[in-house]
């Protein structure tokens, strides 16, 4: 029985080349791994929590996207 194989697409080939390159160069490996430590002040953590949950950051993202379409969430 004949088995049909789909020809690799241009995207498949580009991905294969990128993966080979990354394997050779380590471009996709983190510089270090381990416990993600380091402390953040309570004031800064609260600031981040607030802007991420009350819509402030989302509004800023919309504003930036209108100013620069390449940064827009679409």
């Amino acid at each position: 029985m004949a088995i049909e194989h789909e020809a690799p697409t241009e995207l498949d080939a580009a991905v294969a080349r990128a993966r080979a390159r990354a394997a050779a160069t380590g471009d996709l490996r983190p510089i270090i791994t381990g416990a993600f430590e380091g402390s953040v002040s309570e004031e800064l953590a609260d600031f981040a929590q607030r802007i991420l949950t009350d819509g402030t950051y989302a509004r800023e993202v919309r504003r930036l996207g209108q100013e620069d379409p390449d940064l827009a969430t679409i």
Binding site: A22, E37, R59, P69, A72, I74
Partner: protein
């Protein structure tokens, strides 16, 4: 499995307000972001021309906290991977999607395809969703702190 996170989720990770599993994944080197999302976060916080509420809230931070925030953004933790254009652009250029996407979205898609990662975003994005479905990329739409 690795995850490509958007700018809001990146901020939650940097300030340790992300969910515990995301912080653990960061330690294991399983969190990636893109240069566009990193830049958008940096610009949102630093943009002196911004007249939006974010700049007002940030200006209310004590000086030490402002410095801490700027240092966090200037030096991403080495556990977080940000692939460069030399790797991504050939894949971005080979995307043949039903609807054209912008640079930010193409960069996220290429990062996910190459690494086999999911994408985690916090803002609904119809073109990103459609492209992920077309390419078989997992997309999670969650609040950054979830």
């Amino acid at each position: 499995m690795s995850t490509v996170v958007d700018d809001a989720t990146l901020l939650a990770i940097l300030t340790k307000r992300a969910a515990a599993h995301l912080l653990a994944a960061t330690g294991m080197g399983e969190i990636l972001t893109t240069a566009s999302w990193y830049y958008r976060l940096h610009r949102a916080i630093h943009d002196e021309r911004s007249t939006g509420s974010l700049s007002r809230v940030a200006a209310d931070l004590a000086s030490a906290a402002q410095t801490e925030l700027h240092e966090l953004l200037d030096e991403l933790p080495p556990e977080i991977v940000v692939p460069g254009p030399r790797l991504l652009v050939p894949v971005m250029g080979a995307l043949r999607l039903q609807r054209r996407v912008n640079y930010l979205t193409a960069e996220a898609l290429a990062t996910a395809i190459i690494t086999g990662a999911n994408i985690r975003a916090s803002i609904e994005a119809p073109l990103l969703s459609a492209a992920c479905a077309e390419l078989g990329i997992g997309l999670e739409l969650l609040l950054p702190t979830e």
